[in-house]
Amino acid sequence: MELDVAILSRIQFAFTVSFHIIFPSITIGLATLIAIWEGLWLKTHNPYYLQLAKFWIKPFAITFGTGVVSGIVLSYEFGTNFSRFSDIAGPVIGPLMAYEVLTAFFLEAGFLGVMLFGWQRVSPKMHFSASLIVAIGTWISAFWIIAANSWMQTPAGYEIVAGKFHVTSWFEVIFNPSMPYRLAHMLLATMITASFLVAGISAYYLLKKQHINFAKKGLSMALWSALIFTPLQTYVGDLHGLNVAKHQPIKLAAMEGIWPEWEAPVPLLLFAMPNMEEERNDYEIGIPHLGSIILTHSLDGGVQGLKSVPPEDRPYVPLVFWSFRVMVAIGIGMLFIAVCGLLLRHKDRLYENKAFLLLTTAFTPMGVIAVLAGWYVAETGRQPWVVQGLVRTMDVTSLLPAEKVLFSLIMFVVIYSLLLGVYLYFMGKLIKKGPPKMADLERQLIGMKAPGYALAWVKNLKHQEQGDK
């Protein structure tokens, strides 16, 4: 088989960006939770809040580190593998990414050192500020990268001069038609992802009857957070869907498996095998009218279908269709858990109900999976375009010898598989180790200049020596 460099570059980008998004989707929400716990500890002096912050900062650190190294790859891959895209769209995408680095990456990196290693070197208030700034940094980062990606979905504020994009209005570029919805959707997703991560691990401890008080506090807070954010996400998701219907009708048609040029009323398909060649679905099971109600908020509303554009302008439908269903199914499951949590709390059975704790434990990684599925809908649903309706992905890859890209792709698959294995191993190790003991917490907070510091230092030294023997 002749290797196609454009396909290889696309696979490589899809693989590396999929791997990367796992980590920010955890750290954005987790940084926020850690800052909240630290703030609550300062306010109430309840040591469980500190214990939560000090425990979760460890998974946060390894997640953040992996996110950083896999993110650096992306900032160079635009050029290495999509050099023609960088050349023509650089004037729009470049400055947005530069703003991300200037306003977010440096901020996160600058204060991360103090957040992780500065417990004994700055005051508790200053430390809290550092954690808060890191959290804010992750949010700002999401703002810029969503702005850039949304511009590729719904381009605005540009003109094309000699084959290159020039910006006519930066306001329109940044706040392009899909950006507010997509930003809200993603930020909520990260909060939900982190909430279910914390809820899942806390439920696991409760099932194993370990670290009970710590786990109760964590589960309770995470479920409150889930109860706030999952219904909100349902609402924002609906608004976002309407926005897709308006600006990217073919993506929507692929999400819903709608083939006719115009279909009304639209059923909601629960199951189907989209058949690209025969331009129809196989084994279709649907609920009549429900699609119209969801998509148009009317009983008989119609939507544009896939056949309204020639086959070369359609995405790969099964991937979009099924990714969307995976995301929605997980969303419904999360909503169910959040509501069950409320009911059990009401009956005072939240920490005892085995089935509920098991289900919550099973949902530990579900936020990440939903985020991945959602991004597959967004990105593969936009194909064959890299900039919706204007630039085709296949036309703007780098003109490289295929062997080079094949080599790097194989390396990425090997290295990232290794990295994911190591990440999961160390996550497991941290979870097994459990939260820091209350006595250790006190010792760790003694300031470097405080009188107790030297004593703690000596104690620690003895401890280390015993450890060596």
Binding site: V69, G94, F106, F117, L461
Partner: protein, 334 residues
């Protein structure tokens, strides 16, 4: 002042900051094989574990400034140097995660040591390769050919030169941050590396001048050499001071001098390079004005740079001050 020139300076600043800051922490990875017991390695890692992430951000910053302000140059350079860039990224992945996992591992520590030292070394070498081949110039459409234009004898020399330079920065950084036995050892290593770096700088300079007619003309036409002579002269003075301060019977106030002298050497070497290459971004192919993005993009980003770059420098400096002084071996992490 025109925008393109402004961004050229910002790009230069980003590259310089990167080589200086990530230089010393990559350099510590290069020195790793010469510190073979566990406590010493812990000490070395501790001296940079709170700053490596910020230091590496300058690499991303350099990349996106090139992307935003000179998209055509970004497209050409990154796709031409596809393999060395990929190798550098793979190496940076390994050394980056080693920071997180090394202190948490029991049995796999030696593997993280290997990931850290080989990752740092390869990343530094690849950066040197890319630098060397940029100086040699890129033929048009080089990315399409299955060529190894980045693997020339000259580029290999610059690869080793950059490694030596980073290792020198690392010894001078450790000279500030450590006490006792380690401090004495890095002082000796520092002197040795200083000689190596001077030899490497000399070799690279002479090779470039012999090989590249344009650069030769830039240095030796008319009175140019007289105007440019402060560069090599200042390098000699800084090397002498660094040598003197890398002493075993040091005075405390001179502990940071080798670092600043090494930083000065980097700055002078970098200035020498820019003198030779200006105004090309892709030598002999694309000047900074040809590669520049449209004014609508350049003017938009100016605000961000003018407002945020000073802030970044301020809080980065604050971060270093929080961790100033010697490395404490039993300090609690997170």
């Amino acid at each position: 002042m025109d925008y393109a020139l402004f961004y050229f300076l910002i790009l230069g600043f980003a590259i310089f900051m990167y080589t200086l800051l990530d230089g010393f922490d990559l350099g510590i990875g290069i020195l790793f094989p010469w510190f073979d017991n566990n406590e010493e390695r812990d000490h070395l890692m501790r001296s940079i574990s709170h700053v490596w992430d910020g230091n590496e951000t300058w690499l991303v910053f350099g990349g996106v400034i090139l992307f935003a302000a000179f998209p055509s140059a970004y497209a050409t350079i990154t796709s031409t140097f596809y393999l060395p860039i990929m190798l550098m990224l793979f190496a940076l992945i390994f050394r980056g995660v080693a920071f997180e996992y090394r202190f948490k591992s029991d049995t796999s520590k030696k593997w993280w040591d290997l990931a850290f030292s080989s990752g740092s070394t390869i990343a530094a070498f690849c950066q040197g390769l890319i630098l060397g081949s940029v100086v040699e110039g890129i033929p048009a459409n080089a990315s399409e050919a299955n060529s190894l234009i980045w693997l020339t004898p000259f580029a290999i020399l610059t690869g080793f030169a950059v490694m030596a330079g980073y290792a020198l920065l690392a010894t001078s950084y450790l000279y500030m941050k450590s006490r006792g036995e380690i401090q004495l050892r890095v002082a000796k290593q520092g002197r040795f590396l200083l000689i190596l770096v001077i030899l490497a700088m000399g070799a690279v300079s002479i090779w470039t001048i012999l090989d590249q007619a344009e650069i030769r003309a830039r240095w030796f036409d008319g009175l140019n050499f007289l105007l440019l002579s402060p560069l090599p002269l200042a390098s000699a003075v800084l090397s002498y001071i660094a040598w003197k301060c890398f002493a075993s019977d040091h005075k405390a106030k001179h502990e940071s001098w080798p670092f600043w002298c090494s930083a000065g050497l980097f700055l002078l070497g970098f200035a020498g390079l820019v003198v030779g290459l200006f105004p090309y971004l892709v030598p002999r192919q694309m000047t900074l004005w040809e590669a520049a993005a449209p004014d609508s993009s350049l003017s938009f980003l100016v605000y961000g740079i003018v407002i945020f770059l000073p802030l970044i420098c301020a809080y980065t400096l604050w971060g270093y001050r929080v961790f100033s002084g010697k490395v404490e071996d039993y300090e609690e992490g997170y």
